[in-house]
Amino acid sequence: MTNKITIEDARHVAKLARLGLDEKQLERMAGELDMIIESIGKISDLSLDDVEPTTHALAIVNVFGDDVPHTSLTPEQALANAPDPHDGLFRVPRML
């Protein structure tokens, strides 16, 4: 079930991944993805209806912690690497 990956597919995926690739990069990426998915996509042909997927590497369930307050980062620590801190907030460009 491996369909050819087009530049439109690459454009859609790049949008999902918020990667600002230009046309040339998208074209190259489409070709590479196509080659890679063609190679690894063969597993979609295997008939595995009776197999349970592994969702967790380790068979542990319901790992809870006690609901006890504790100190976390200070605001200064949280903002320590901020590109544009302002008034104790992370400032970003306007949305629209």
Binding site: L33, I37, Q77, P83
Partner: protein, 495 residues
Amino acid sequence: MTQQLDLLTLTAAGAADLLTSGELSSAELADAYLDRIEADTDATNAFLHVDRAATRASVAHAETLGDAAGSARGVPLAIKDLLSTADMPTTCASKILEGFRPVYDATVVANARAAGLVNLGKVNMDEFAMGSSNETSAFGPVRNPWDPSKVPGGSSGGSAASVAGGFAPWALGTDTGGSIRQPAALCGIVGLKPTYGAVSRYGLVAFASSLDQVGPMTKNVEDCATLFNIIASPDARDTTCVGPRAPVQLKRHERLDGVRLGLPKQFMLEGVDPDVKAVIEENLRQAVELGAAIVDVDLPHAEYGLAAYYLIAPAEASANLARFDGVRYGHRSADADNLYDMYLKSRAEGFGTEVQRRIMIGAYALSSGYYDAYYGQAQKVRTLIAQDFAQVFEHCDLVVGPTSPTTAFGIGERIDDPLAMYASDICTIPVNLAALPAISIPSGLSGGLPVGLQLIGPAFSEQLILDVSWTLEQVFDFDVVPGRLRDRDQVGGAA
């Protein structure tokens, strides 16, 4: 210092002895390594960050700890730049985190500090741990100390080269699809990937959360056991971490009577270099001479491991790397005048090609219409591989085989061919998918380059793996000093 230090042969245990006997101080030892790192005669480029002041502060802290800290107090440690350190930057070898300083230590780093280990510096790696050659680093490739025209392997290439090249007595690496074991094999050192859940991932920048593990990379098995015991602990801050079964205490048996080593035919196929196969076959003969039995076993679904891994790992990575958006930390594009543009440009500018490729593969595999066919199927293949191993361990104690299908390849040789690069991990990947522990120990040379033997055990069998490895190590008698450095650098701190 009463005699010249031989950093190329000095193990962590040897360094600890020198410190205990008072022959030299922890500060002098750290300085000796830092001098060699600074000189970097072969442009190994193993280190991304050195900071003499921070290392000195680390030494001072170690000296405040009493004997309860343990036998390794004062010994320097190189730390892969994927691990958060509060006293040094953590970049994951990426432009997107250039200059980033974590505000806390990873649990494994905190454990190391509590044992009195000294932070020698952060070592180079493939960007965000994505690679098998340390060529995707945004800050230059690492060169293999055995042959500077060759790769050290990856993604823990800097960790491996730092130990093999006499820049550190031991190092921390991480392994998601073979990133501790394969560079250990290519650089002729010991590297252990613990059982998933044995070591905390708190403070480890996540690549693939269901596969990542931190582990020791050392000159010998004894140091490997020591460092494993230091870093492994339960941790409430990582709910996937249950800790090790028990501290490892090496038994040091001279023989392997009663030990059954399973050799899967899938690990010795055409993809494996014939000269590498020859070394492994000799290793197995040596094991038999020690009393081990070799059992032929079958891992029928191992051939789908590469495909499953290159769907699961990129899928998880695409989610984990979504946090790098220029909002709270890391690179923010100067070119964006709105938020959406800021995301697109910051990420395109900050991430390297391989990282972008894997994010794209992952997002594609998880996208609507493809999720079940790709990611869903891969999760099922994972179940089958885990079942294969469970069945195999009913007939043998450990599974054995080559760690890497080839010895170190040339820098630049595979970087433009993703599929050829991905094939470096065919022997190591099934282990991560099954969440099992595995070690690579240096076991011979081929064309003057190291070959590693991989031993895989059932979950939480690090004691058995290290015991058998120790015994084999004595008989392999592998010289960890790269041949070309023996005459040039031996007996002396700085080159």
